[in-house]
C-alpha cells in the first residue's frame, strides 16, 4: 500500500526521477530543514544565498532546461516532484526555484534558438542565476490573465515602439525573485492598445539601465523567497527580446501558466504533506486515555482524510505535469484542476494538523503554524480558485477535436 508519506511508490516515476526525488528529499532534510526557522523569522528582505547556492549545485535551477543547453532535461514532471519535496520542508524555498522556472518558461516556449542560447546556458554557470516572471501590477491582476478582461486592464506597464526596439515604463508588484533575479520575463502593453489588448512578452536583463528593484513585501508566509516591486523607467529593449511577437503576450502567458500550475499544485501537496507528517508523528506519540491519539476514532478519521487528500492531490499534479511534458500546447484543464484541488487541501490538511496537535500546533517551535500560514499562499499566485474555476469550466465546455 502506498501512503501519503510513502508517496510516489506506485511506479509512475522513471528511474531518473526517482533518483532526483531522493536527492531533493536529502537536500531538503539536510540543508533546508536546519535553516527553515531562521529564514522564516528573518527580516522580510533577508535572502539565504548559501541555501540557493547549494540548490544550484544540485541543479535545481536547471531541472527543466534541455540537455542541449546544459540543463537536466527532467521536464515539468521533474520540477513538480522536486518542488513537492522542498515544500514538504519549506514552501518559500520551493518557490525560489519554482519562480525561476516561470521566468525560463517563455524562453523555452519561444522556440527561438537566439533567445534560448542567450538565456538558458546561464543556469549552468558556476554561480547561481535566478529568473522571475513580471506580470502582476497594482491595478491589474486577473485582468492580465483572463483574455476577456484584457480590455478593462488599467495602468498597465507601457511598451512604446521606438526604432528597432521598445521603451518600457511602469511598475510590477509582488514579483517573486524580483530582488535577486538576473533577468525577467516582463509583460507590457503596446502604446495605443486599449487596456492590455496589446500585451507583449519581453525578456529583460534586470541590470538594464532604468530598472529599479523596489522594496520587498513583508509577507505572512513564503518568507524564504522575496516578493518585490520592479520599476521600469525608460528601459530600452531590443526587438529580438520579444517572445511570441507583438501583442501576443496573453497567449504566451497562458501557456506559461498552464506549465506552471502543475508545479504549484506540487508545492501545495508538499505543504499538506509536511503538515501531515508532523501531525502523524504527534498522533503516534501522544497518549491520551491510555492509547495513542491515532487510536481514537475522531483523530483516526482526521488522519485518514488528510492522507487520502494528499494522495489524491499528488496524483492530480503528476497527471498534469506528465501532460505538460507530452502535449503542446500544455493542457488547461488538468493543471487548473490539480492546482484548484491541491491549494484547497493544503489549507484543510494544515488546519487539521494544527487541530490534532492542540496547543503545540499553535507554537512556533513545532513548525505547524508555518505550514498553516503558507497553505494560504498558493491560493493566490498562478491563479486564484476563481480564475482556476473559469479555466476548468471553459475546458469542460470546449469542443473536443481529437483523433490525434
Amino acid at each position: 500500500m502506498t501512503t501519503a508519506t510513502d508517496h510516489l511508490a506506485f511506479g509512475s516515476l522513471t528511474p531518473e526521477l526517482t533518483v532526483l526525488q531522493q536527492q531533493v528529499r536529502d537536500f531538503a532534510d539536510e540543508v533546508v530543514r536546519p535553516r527553515v526557522s531562521r529564514n522564516d523569522q528573518a527580516p522580510a528582505d533577508d535572502f539565504d544565498w548559501e541555501l540557493v547556492r547549494r540548490g544550484h549545485e544540485l541543479g535545481l535551477f536547471r531541472l527543466v532546461i534541455p540537455k542541449e543547453y546544459g540543463g537536466l532535461g527532467h521536464g515539468v514532471l521533474g520540477v513538480a516532484v522536486a518542488l513537492e519535496e522542498l515544500a514538504a520542508v519549506c514552501a518559500g524555498t520551493a518557490l525560489i526555484f519554482g519562480a525561476t522556472l516561470l521566468g525560463q518558461a517563455p524562453v523555452l516556449l519561444s522556440g527561438d534558438p537566439r533567445l534560448q542560447s542567450r538565456y538558458l546556458p546561464l543556469f549552468n554557470a558556476a554561480d547561481p542565476v535566478l529568473a522571475c516572471n513580471a506580470v502582476t501590477e497594482d491595478l491589474a491582476g486577473c485582468d492580465l490573465l483572463i483574455p476577456e478582461n484584457a480590455v478593462h486592464a488599467a495602468d498597465v506597464l507601457s511598451a512604446r515602439k521606438v526604432g528597432d526596439g521598445y521603451v518600457l515604463n511602469g511598475r510590477k508588484r509582488f514579483i517573486t525573485n524580483g530582488k535577486v533575479a538576473h533577468f525577467a520575463s516582463v509583460y507590457g502593453n503596446l502604446v495605443g492598445s486599449p487596456g492590455a489588448t496589446g500585451l507583449t512578452c519581453f525578456m529583460v536583463p534586470l541590470d538594464a539601465e532604468g530598472v529599479t528593484r523596489g522594496p520587498v513585501a513583508d509577507k505572512m508566509g513564503y518568507r524564504a523567497c522575496l516578493g518585490t516591486e520592479l520599476v521600469f523607467t525608460d528601459v530600452v529593449v531590443p526587438a529580438d527580446q520579444v517572445v511570441g511577437g507583438e501583442g501576443n503576450g496573453m497567449v504566451v502567458n497562458i501557456q506559461q501558466m498552464n506549465m506552471a500550475r502543475a508545479t504549484v499544485a506540487a508545492i501545495s501537496t508538499g505543504i499538506a504533506r509536511g503538515a501531515f507528517e508532523r501531525a502523524k508523528e504527534f498522533a503516534g506519540d501522544r497518549v491520551q486515555g491510555g492509547v495513542p491519539l491515532y487510536r481514537h476514532q475522531f483523530s483516526a478519521r482526521k488522519l485518514a482524510e488528510m492522507s487520502a487528500k494528499i494522495d489524491a492531490a499528488r496524483m492530480l499534479y503528476l497527471r498534469a505535469a506528465h501532460l505538460a511534458d507530452t502535449e503542446l500546447p500544455a493542457p488547461a484543464y488538468e493543471p487548473a484542476a490539480a492546482k484548484l484541488f491541491a491549494d484547497r487541501i493544503a489549507i484543510e490538511v494544515a488546519e487539521e494538523a494544527m487541530s490534532l496537535m492542540g496547543a503545540r500546533g499553535y507554537l512556533r517551535e513545532y513548525g505547524i503554524e508555518k505550514f498553516v500560514r503558507e497553505s494560504f499562499g498558493a491560493r493566490i499566485y498562478e491563479g486564484t480558485p476563481e480564475v482556476l474555476a473559469l479555466a476548468v469550466t471553459e475546458a469542460l465546455y470546449a469542443e473536443e477535436d481529437d483523433d490525434f
Binding site: G244, V251, T326
Partner: protein, 130 residues
C-alpha cells in the same frame, strides 16, 4: 486562400524540407542518439509524413512516433516561412504536439537550416509566399 493546390505539391515541399535536414550528419546522429522519430499530420490538403534518421516517408501508415505534430499545411507554410511564431501557433491551437516536449525543445535549434531554406523550396514548388 489555400497555399497548396494538391496533396502531391504539399508532400513534395515538406518531404524535401526534411530531406535537407537529414542530409546533415549532425542532425541524423542526434536523431539516432535520442531515438527520435517524427510524425507530421497535416491537413488541407491531407498529407502525413514520417521522418526517421533513414529518411522521409509519405503516408507511411505509422500510428505513433516519438514526436507527433498536427497542423494544417497553411499553418506549416506560415511557420516555416517565419510569418507565424511557434508560441502563438501553439497557444491558439493551430499547432498541436504530442510526445516528449523535452525532445522537441532539444531539437528546435537543429531545425534552423530548414527555416533558412524553406522560402526557396516553397517558391520553387510554386507555392505563394506566406
Amino acid at each position: 486562400m489555400a497555399y497548396f493546390r494538391t496533396k502531391e505539391q504539399a508532400a513534395g515541399v515538406f518531404a524535401h524540407l526534411f530531406t535537407i535536414l537529414l542530409s546533415d550528419e549532425q542532425f541524423t546522429a542526434r536523431m539516432r542518439e535520442a531515438g527520435l522519430t517524427l510524425r507530421l499530420v497535416q491537413s488541407k490538403p491531407d498529407v502525413e509524413l514520417y521522418v526517421d534518421p533513414d529518411g522521409v516517408t509519405v503516408d507511411a501508415g505509422v500510428d505513433k512516433a516519438v514526436i507527433n505534430i498536427k497542423m494544417s499545411c497553411d499553418t506549416a507554410h506560415a511557420l516555416w516561412s517565419g510569418r507565424l511564431l511557434m508560441p502563438v501557433a501553439l497557444a491558439t491551437g493551430k499547432v498541436r504536439i504530442r510526445g516528449s516536449v523535452a525532445k522537441v525543445l532539444e531539437f528546435v535549434p537543429l531545425l534552423q537550416p530548414a527555416f533558412d531554406r524553406y522560402p526557396e523550396i516553397a517558391a520553387r514548388a510554386g507555392v505563394a509566399a506566406a
